[in-house]
C-alpha cells in the first residue's frame, strides 16, 4: 500500500472535522475521495500531507508515518485554496519548491532540473510562460502552475485537492487527460473532487465522506453496482409463474415482473442481499424450463449513488 490510514480523526473544538477514516490506496491506482462541501475531505487530505495533526488514529505513506518529512518526500500535493508568491515568476516558484524539496542550490541550477521545470510547465500547458510573474496569471493558470509544482519532484503519490476547480471545460479536459497519462505511467493519484465525471473517468477506487464520516469505500464498480437489484430476461414466461417462484424464494429476496411481452419473454427484477441468491433464482427459473437470456446487476450512475448517500437513503458498509 502506498497510503494507509487507520481510524484517522481530526476533531476541531467546533466538533466538525473528520472521524475514524480508514482507507488503503494501492500503488499505481487512482483513488477518489468524494463528498459534499464541508464533509471533511480536505481535513483528511491535510492530515495526510502533514498540515494538520490528527486527533487520533494513524496513517503511513510508503511505510512512513504521515506528517514526517520522510512521508512528505513521496508526495506531490496540490492544495485546494492556495496561492503562490505573486512576486516570483513561474520558473522561480518551481525552483523555490525544488529547494524546499531538498535539492541543493547547485542541483537546482543543473541542466537536468531546468529541463524538468520546462517539462512540467509544458505538461500543464504553460509553455513560454515560465518567465512571467505569477501576479499576471489567471486563476486557471495558477491552478496549472500548482499542478506543475505537485509534479515537479516526480513523486510516487500525487494528491490533488480539487484540481479542476478553477479551470474552464477545456482546462478540465486537459487536466483529466494529464492525470490519465500519469496513471498510465504508474503514478498513484489521490483525487479529492466534487467532479463526478473525473472520478468516473479516472478512479479505480472511491471513498465517500459525509459529515466527517466514511460512508463507503471500495472499487468504483462494486460501489455503484451494490444496489442489490438484478435484472433477469427470460423466455417462455407465463402469467402465474411469479407466484409459484415467490413461494420458493429464500426469505429476504424479492422478485417482480418489470415487463411482459406478447412473444412470451419477460424482464424480471430481483432484489437480493447476496450475489449467491441470484444463482438460486436462476436455478428456480431453469427448473421451470424458462430460457435465461440475460442476468445482470442493476447499477446506478455515480451521481445517483452520490445523492443517495448524501441523502442518507443508503448506508453502504465500509
Amino acid at each position: 500500500m502506498i497510503l494507509e490510514t487507520s481510524g484517522l480523526s481530526k476533531v476541531y473544538p467546533s466538533g466538525v472535522g473528520c472521524r475514524d477514516i480508514s482507507v488503503r490506496v494501492k500503488q499505481g491506482t487512482a483513488f477518489g475521495l468524494l463528498g459534499p462541501n464541508g464533509a471533511g475531505k480536505s481535513t483528511f487530505v491535510k492530515m495526510i500531507v502533514g498540515l494538520l495533526k490528527p486527533t487520533s488514529g494513524s496513517g503511513a505513506v510508503m511505510g512512513n508515518p504521515i506528517g514526517r518529512t520522510e512521508a512528505r518526500r513521496h508526495i506531490g500535493y496540490l492544495p485546494e485554496l492556495f496561492r503562490f508568491q505573486d512576486w516570483l515568476t513561474a520558473r522561480e516558484v518551481l525552483a523555490f519548491h525544488g529547494r524546499l524539496a531538498g535539492l541543493s542550490a547547485a542541483a537546482n541550477r543543473s541542466p537536468g532540473q531546468q529541463r524538468r521545470i520546462r517539462e512540467v510547465l509544458s505538461l500543464v500547458g504553460l509553455d513560454g510562460r515560465g518567465d512571467d510573474r505569477v501576479r499576471h496569471f489567471s486563476k486557471g493558470m495558477q491552478q496549472r502552475l500548482g499542478i506543475a509544482c505537485a509534479l515537479l519532484t516526480d513523486p510516487e503519490l500525487i494528491i490533488l485537492d480539487e484540481p479542476a476547480s478553477a479551470l474552464d471545460p477545456i482546462g478540465r479536459f486537459e487536466v483529466r487527460s494529464l492525470l490519465q497519462e500519469l496513471r498510465r505511467q504508474g503514478k498513484t493519484i489521490f483525487l479529492n473532487t466534487h467532479l463526478l465525471e473525473d472520478v468516473e473517468a479516472l478512479c479505480d477506487e472511491v471513498a465517500f465522506v459525509y459529515h466527517g464520516k466514511l460512508k463507503a469505500v471500495g472499487p468504483l464498480r462494486d460501489i455503484i453496482g451494490s444496489t442489490g437489484r438484478w435484472e433477469i430476461s427470460v423466455g417462455g414466461w407465463l402469467p402465474g409463474l411469479l407466484e409459484e417462484i415467490r413461494g420458493a424464494l429464500i426469505p429476504g429476496t424479492e422478485l417482480h415482473v418489470r415487463e411482459e411481452r406478447p412473444d412470451g419473454s419477460a424482464v424480471l427484477t430481483a432484489v437480493v442481499r447476496e450475489r449467491e441468491q441470484v444463482g438460486w433464482i436462476n436455478r428456480l427459473l431453469s427448473e421451470l424450463e424458462l430460457t435465461l437470456y440475460e442476468v445482470r446487476p442493476v447499477t446506478e450512475n455515480l451521481e445517483q449513488w452520490f445523492l443517495s448517500l448524501a441523502d442518507g437513503k443508503e448506508d453502504t458498509p465500509c
Partner: protein, 287 residues
Amino acid sequence: MLIWIGYAGNELLRRRILPVTLALTALFLGLIGFVLHRVAGAGDTEDMSLFFQAGTAMVLGLYFAQLLSAFFVLFSTMGTISGEIESGLMLAMLARPIPRWKMYLGKWLGFAFWCLLYHALLFWSIVILVRVFLNAPLLPDAVWKGFGLFECLPLLLLALSLLGSTALPAIGNGVACAMLLGLSMFSGLLENVFDSSKAHAGISNFAFYVSLLMPSDAIFRRMIYELLGGSALPLTPETDKMMGPFSSMGPFSLSNLPSAAFVVYAAVYLVALVAWGCARFQRKDIA
C-alpha cells in the same frame, strides 16, 4: 540559509518595500545631514559645545532611525506566518519535506539579514555624518560596541513579530508589536524624565518590567552609553556627573542604564523568542 535570504530579498525588492524604504531613508538622512551642516556652520568645530551637540544629534538621529527600522521590520513581517497561512501561500510549502522549525528559522534569518543590512546602513550613515560635519571624537571600540547593540534592536523586534504571527492575524500582530514597542519606548522616556533622581521607585519598576517584555529601549540606552564611550565609567550615581551634559539630556539622558547582565538577558530573550516561535510553528495546525 541562502535560499531564505534570497526569498526575503526577492519579496522585499519586488513588492517595492525596499526601494520605498531606501528612498525615504535617503530623505531622512538628508535631513539629518542638513541639520548637522547648519549646526557645524554656526560654531567652531574645535568648540567643546559642538561635541555635545554632535552627541545629541547622534542620539536623536539613532533614536528616530530605530523607529524607521522598526516600521520596516513590522510592516514587512507582521503577516509572515499567519498572513501566508490565510492567503494559502504556506499550504504547498509546508507539504514539502522540510521540518517546519527550519522553515521558521529560515524565514527569521532571511528577514534578519536584510534588517541588519538596513540597520547597518542607518547606523553608519548617521555616525559618519556626525563625524564629518561636527568632527566628533568617536572611539573606534565604542562605535563598534554601539553598532553591535544597535544591530540587536531589529533582531528583537523581528523575533517578536514572527512569534506573534504564529498566533495572531497580520494586522492584530502588527498592532500588538507596535504597542509593545511603543510601551517600551514610553516607559524608557518616563524613567528618564521622572526617575533621574531615583525618587519614583514605582516608575523604575514599571520600566524594568516592560523592558523584560520588550528590551529594545533599554538596549538602545545601553547602545548610546557605549557609543559615547561610557563603558569605561562605573555604573554608579557618580556616572551622571562623569557623563557630564549627556546625563541631563531630558528624555534621552543616560541616567538609567541597563547593566551588562541585562544585555545578556536580552540576548537570551532573543534566542528564547526564536526557539518558542519554532516550537509553536512546529505544532501549529494549518487549517
